[in-house]
């Protein structure tokens, strides 16, 4: 299926870019008039995916994060967040709620649980030492006729 519209952004894995990333997605989707809760869901999921790259994919260095956002017919939104970092050795385990390899005092381990709860679909493809791609999908509610 061909996207009606798409954008691709690359940025550094700096924590200041978490706000940039979710803001960029929100700005791109603004013309599709998502509901406020749906936009909040998408922003939250993007924030989780990008934070994972910053905290886990590049633990000791700054690396590139590539984010794409596309809208397909039927108001289907597809977002990918891709890094070239350390990769996830066991994706299924990483997606378990409360599992974290981060500082257990400060990281809740809920990143993937939030993505799964707030989006219609979450797919994770990862190869150790090569990187990770998270694909988030959500169908926007039909526009109300005015």
């Amino acid at each position: 299926m061909k996207a009606e519209n798409s954008a691709r952004i690359q940025f550094d894995s700096l924590s200041v870019n978490e706000g940039f990333a979710r803001g960029a997605v929100a700005a791109f989707l603004a013309r599709y008039d998502p509901t406020v809760p749906q936009l909040a869901d998408i922003k939250t999921a993007v924030s989780e995916a990008v934070t994972n790259c910053i905290v886990h994919a590049y633990p000791d260095r700054v690396g590139p994060i590539t984010m794409t956002v596309a809208v397909y017919p039927g108001r289907l939104v597809r977002i990918t967040v891709t890094d070239k970092g350390v990769g996830i050795p066991d994706v299924r385990r990483a997606m378990e709620p409360l599992y974290t390899t981060g500082d257990p005092e400060e990281r809740s381990g809920l990143g993937f649980a939030v993505m799964q709860s707030f989006m219609d679909g979450v797919r994770v493809a990862s190869r150790p030492a090569r990187g990770t791609r998270v694909t988030l999908t959500k169908r926007l509610a039909a526009k109300e006729d005015t």
Binding site: G19, V36, T44, E106, A113, V114
Partner: protein, 106 residues
Amino acid sequence: MANVSFSAAGDTLYAYLAGEIDHDAAQSLRLALDDALASRSPRTLVLDFGGVGFMDSSGVGLILGRQRRAQALGGGIRVQHAPRQLRRVLDLARIPYGSEEGGTNP
């Protein structure tokens, strides 16, 4: 970007959080909150999210971390005035937040 301001009433310390709480903002909030916990040792630390427009799971880590710290000092925490978007995140973490809604989010 987020910030926090404090007010005290008896042995309760109120922390009014504002802005967007993500992994980036959580780092400075954590320092400010831990500083206040250590210097004032309140019986209850109330985290007021009324001014928070966005929060992801980094905020959950921030809350649970402060809860552990407050309990270690013989106190506890309470969450109040969470806007609707935050409630969905708090629900996932099973963090209670009282009934009063905060913020301007519909």
